[in-house]
Amino acid sequence: MASNNPSVFLLMINGQIEGGNFPEYDDLYCKYCFVYGHDWAPTSGLEEGISQITSKSRLSPHKLIWNFPLEITFKSTNPSGWPQIVVSVYGPDTFGNDVVRGYGATHIPFSPGQHTKTIPMFVPESTSRLQKFTSWLMGRRPEYTDPKVVAQGEGREVTRVCSQGFVTLTFHIVTKDMKKLGYDGTPSDPSNTLSQASSTGLRPHE
């Protein structure tokens, strides 16, 4: 199974979209998709998904829980274009139309182990006040034609957005053959790196 000179390495992601924190909105569902570079290809698992619709409850009036599974494995020859997950959250407005409540994206962590990430979500802003009013009235808010734009750096300088809400994701990462190909992505002493993602690696230190 394992070759002595591997040419590709594998990245296995098991995780979930735990839930969100949107103070002003309720009854939300989320969609996710993965964005990756030319050298990457998914080998198994689902690249996209839509979750259930969740509401805030009496017991936890601030938390929205999706508990939505993420399972995918990628193979690649090159860490450039490392996969990112793009999450878009939608919900009903006052008139009952389905509008976008936030887009967010983050890179998949690359050291093996468990990671928790909380990503900020933002929506595009209308250009003028009149447009803002008509879009509120008609239920057609500004949205991206392709949510994958959120994962790219080009062309963002002309957009204005309003950040509202956060989504929490958990990942469990396993990599294969990254070390054999010479890539070193794990810290030699985890206490040295200040990390906002909590990382409890199960691999022994080398």
């Binding site: 274009g81 690359f110 080009e154 509202q164 010479g182 990390s195």
Partner: protein, 175 residues
């Protein structure tokens, strides 16, 4: 030849007087480094947060460098600007930080500063906005002529940078 991957995000900024902010960023390296893929400069979107003080950009950075030497390790320099409701832009801060030199995930907090003018310029800045700017952005990350400047402190930019290194250990580099 050793390779370095910088994969991460400019997360956002906080601590500035107003919060409709965007950031122009760039990476500067020495002569021994060559960029293989990725964009080495860019500009984020303008973010106006609904709640709280922190503006979030989540601007992705994905760079692949190859290098023949350790000198001129990549430096990330930033300019934080404020855009008001009329579309006018005003400088809010300059800052720079070195790209971390050990593999793994790093959270980097980059402090920023703004040049201070004379008291007449400061008074005008209070009413009309604007203010002195650097003529060339090299001064953000070099120490050469800094002694001529007087600056004031501004907010902080938060970055999430992940570093993957390849073949550094083959050349005997410990990091």
């Amino acid at each position: 030849m050793a390779e370095l991957h910088i994969i991460g995000q400019i997360v956002g900024a906080s601590g500035f007087p107003q919060s409709s902010l965007f950031c122009k960023w760039g990476i500067h390296t020495g002569g021994a480094w060559r960029l293989l893929s990725g964009l080495k400069e860019g500009q984020t979107q303008v973010d106006l947060p609904q709640t709280g003080d922190m503006a979030y950009w989540s601007h992705p950075i994905d760079l692949h460098y190859t290098t023949k030497g350790l000198q001129g390790w990549p430096k990330l320099h930033l300019q934080v600007w404020h855009q008001d409701s009329f579309g006018r832009c005003q400088l809010y801060g300059y800052g720079y930080c070195h790209v971390p030199s050990s593999p793994g995930q790093h959270t980097v907090r980059c402090a920023t500063w703004r040049p201070l003018g004379s008291w007449q310029e400061q008074l005008a800045q209070m009413f009309v906005g604007g203010g002195p700017q650097l003529r060339s952005p090299d001064l953000i990350y070099s120490g050469a002529d800094r002694y001529r400047l007087q600056t004031e402190a501004m907010g902080t930019v938060e970055l999430d940078l992940g570093i993957i290194m390849r073949h550094f250990d083959k050349h005997g580099v410990e990091c």
